[in-house]
Amino acid sequence: MAKFEKKRGKTAPAISTASLPDIIFMLLFFFMTVTVMRNSELKVDVNIPEATELTKLEKKSLVNFIFIGVPKLPFQKVRGTSPQLQLGDKFADIEEIPIFLEKHRIKVPEKQRAMIISSLKIDKDVTMGIVADVKDQLRKSGQLKVNYSAKKRAGDKYK
């Protein structure tokens, strides 16, 4: 019995930290692959509505974003408080949509161009007038796949 105790006491339980970098690297690679750089800073307030019949947007590189909402406070002096369109990271007119779409389209490989989806992030309280105009522009430029961005609603029915 004494022999056992002695042996245990001798070997100090030092945890090897040699594999620590490997573990960290593993985590690092995971986050590197899932990271999507935030490319556009929102200049309009967008509070998207809730819905139940949602489809996930799979490939981020095939998606372009169009924001519609009331300009945030610092921009209200210049832009007013009526809903505005934001393409990329700046305010835009509705007529600029075709150029914006084309700029995105040329970045996408030719084979995948038919799969491009426009994600419309529109504030709940915006009226349909501007939305209808945007939709017409999208149709004119042949961008027919559209995703109305929405949050998952927990309940099934409207209250």
Binding site: L28, E53, G129, V131, S149, K152
Partner: protein
């Protein structure tokens, strides 16, 4: 020579102790910049743009499920004011027409949903209505899949899903918005 090689040996040992620190630094950077939120939404296919006047096709009124949303966010479904809570049930009943009523769709294939809104309609309401209509179709397809294969739509292989979609197609026509309401 012997001394030199000994020196080399010492120099060749790279200190890997700080490797973890470097990796940590990078890790924290990516942790901060990562946005995990997934983009979801209602997928919609817009009709292609054409400048020529649309062909006037006579539709039987019994096959058209007209939904009007006015600037006060009120619904008019087939001429009657309707609450959004029962829109889904109404739509399902109309599309399927289980009692073979004279004033409802002849078959799910022939049913057409016509959606019209005002320029003053709120986007939230428009999307809610769209969502309900889509939900009605999804529920009908699920029921049909259950009946035929005993499985839900999402568990079926693609070809069977396509068969059901072909039998219960979502035909939604959106009319030009009216402009009675006030736009913001």
């Amino acid at each position: 020579m012997a001394r030199k090689s000994a020196k080399d040996k010492v120099n060749n040992e790279v200190n890997a102790g700080s490797m973890a620190d470097i990796a940590f630094l990078l890790l924290i950077f990516f942790l901060v910049t990562t946005t995990m939120d997934q983009d979801k939404g209602l997928l919609v296919k817009l009709p292609p743009w054409s400048t020529e006047a649309p062909k006037i096709t006579k539709l039987k009124t019994r096959n058209v499920f007209s939904v009007l949303v006015n600037a006060n966010d009120e619904l008019l479904v087939r001429g009657e004011p309707v609450d959004i809570n029962i829109l889904r049930e109404k739509a399902k009943e109309f599309i399927k027409n289980p009692l073979k009523l004279e004033n409802m769709s002849e078959s799910p294939k022939k049913a057409i949903v016509s959606l019209k809104n005002d320029r003053g309609t709120h986007y939230a309401k428009y999307l809610a209505v769209y969502n309900e209509l889509k939900a009605a179709y999804n529920e009908l397809r699920d029921e049909e899949a259950m009946k035929r294969y005993g499985k839900k739509m999402e568990d079926l292989p693609m070809d069977k899903q396509k068969l059901i979609i072909k039998d219960i197609p979502l035909i939604l026509s959106e009319a030009e918005s009216t402009s009675f309401g006030e736009e913001k």
